[in-house]
């Protein structure tokens, strides 16, 4: 039996993000001062360092900024997934987030490909935001 995949260790910064993901929403922090979104969630805005932040539900749409096709797994837990596509997604709202592209054909993934979020249950607490090409 292959070992279990690592689950995120939720903290106070990320809890609202993971709770929303479990409910099928992509919620990321929005700064009340500079008006910019950011990811990953922090206690202060990385753009203007304000702490006037709230979580905002975003479109879940974006494009592939870069990606790699893993031909060797990141440890035994991912062995059954090979080949799989890890991608840096640039959301329409600006921030970039690391994720997976759900696809039967990794060769079709390309920089600039339009993608949309889809949530994949990983545990009772965690649903991962993966992306699909649209």
């Amino acid at each position: 039996m292959s070992p279990e995949k690592p689950l995120p260790v939720i903290d106070h910064d990320s809890a609202p993000y993971w709770e929303a993901a479990q409910e099928g929403r992509l919620d990321i922090p929005l700064c009340g001062d500079c008006g910019k979104h950011h990811f990953y969630p922090r206690a202060i805005c990385p753009h203007c360092h304000s702490d006037n932040l709230r979580f905002d539900t975003v479109s879940g749409r974006g494009e592939v900024h870069s990606f790699t096709i893993a031909r060797r797994p990141a440890g035994p837990a991912f062995a059954d997934d090979v080949p799989y596509v890890v991608a840096l997604i640039e959301l329409e709202e600006g921030p970039r987030m690391m994720s997976r592209i759900q696809t039967d054909d990794p060769e079709k993934v390309h920089i600039g490909a339009r993608v949309e979020v889809t949530f994949v249950k990983a545990s009772d607490e965690i649903a991962h935001p993966y992306f699909r090409m649209t």
């Binding site: 995949k5 690592p6 689950l7 995120p8 260790v9 939720i10 903290d11 990320s14 990811f39 990953y40 900024h65 870069s66 990606f67 790699t68 096709i69 893993a70 031909r71 060797r72 797994p73 990141a74 440890g75 837990a77 991912f78 997934d81 799989y84 890890v86 840096l88 970039r96 987030m97 690391m98 994720s99 997976r100 920089i111 600039g112 990983a122 965690i126 991962h128």
Partner: protein, 390 residues
Amino acid sequence: MKNGRDPVIVGIADAPIEDGKFVTKASVLGHAALVAKAAVEEAGLTLDDVDGLLTAGMWGVPGPGQLATVTLGEYLNIMPTYVDGTNIGGSAFEAHVAHAAMALREGYCEVALIVYSSDQKSLRSRNLGGRPSVLSMQHETPYGMPTPVGGYAMAARRHMHEYGTTSENLAEIAVATRKWAQLNPAATRRDPLSVDDVLSSTMISEPLHLLDCCLVTDGAGAIVMTTAERARDLKTAPVAVKGYGEAHTHWAIGEMPDLARLLPAQKAGETAMKMAGVSHSDIDVVEVYDSFTITVLLTLEALGFCKIGEGGDFVSGQRTAPGGAFPMNTNGGGLSALHPGMYGMFLLIEACRQLRGVCGDRQVAGAETALVHGTGGTLSSGATVILQKD
């Protein structure tokens, strides 16, 4: 203007390895101690003269390696009064040279010892992978990001997309570096290598092949620094530390400000060259971190040896190979000589050997000024040192 407290390197040593493994039987700290002793004794000093201790490592983490200078100081049975355990990845030792240089100028220490040791090959482990899924890594590790190669692969892909760089361009770097290794009896991989060999090697994390990746070996190295004044009484010809710079931008690759531009190298390089008062044409030999072929390409662009986006053209035609216009990674680099996890120490040692003129078949004729640039993490940190024959 010369000053008696100008920092110089007076001792270097590295441990012999065979097939990537230590030859001598000793623990990881034992190897650190053996190279430390060799480096101070080369200069005509003893370990009791050392009052500055700088180290970084992954040994015993979590555990003793978390307090690296304390653990090593205990093993050596010395009481340093200036310590620096800065760990910014493989570039840590270039930063250590900078920090020791400042401490020496300030009169805060007289003899600084910088040490690194890793037995990752013998242990069959590589501590860099499997980053725990906490803090920023909770948004990366669960997706199966191959660490660290996946991040470098994403940078390579982006560079290819923006500038038309090819896998052949990257392979040129691996091939040129292997040619240097063939001139270095101590290098681990010395068999001939062609661009086709690189392109047909196993794909690890697209677009990076196995032979785009550095080796995994053991290794230990040490550097001893003191002041120009003190060096006059010592046994070795000093190498002057003329300039230095350091910077870092991110830990998680998703946070890298621009995947196709290495901002820490740009910043550190500018700072170091300005401090040293040198321009690109003054540099005779270049030692830059080659964790992956793409690391080299991004670094050369960021340091200003060519324009951003033109790295592929710059390295083509075996320009960086022996006999080429741009002698680089003259020991065979992390790609072919050795790569014990944090390789930056060995860039410095090779640069010193070139400036001492003791490199035999691989000696760069008339080498007087060297640029050393370390990269750490996942293109996270950069530190540059300019060294000159005194």
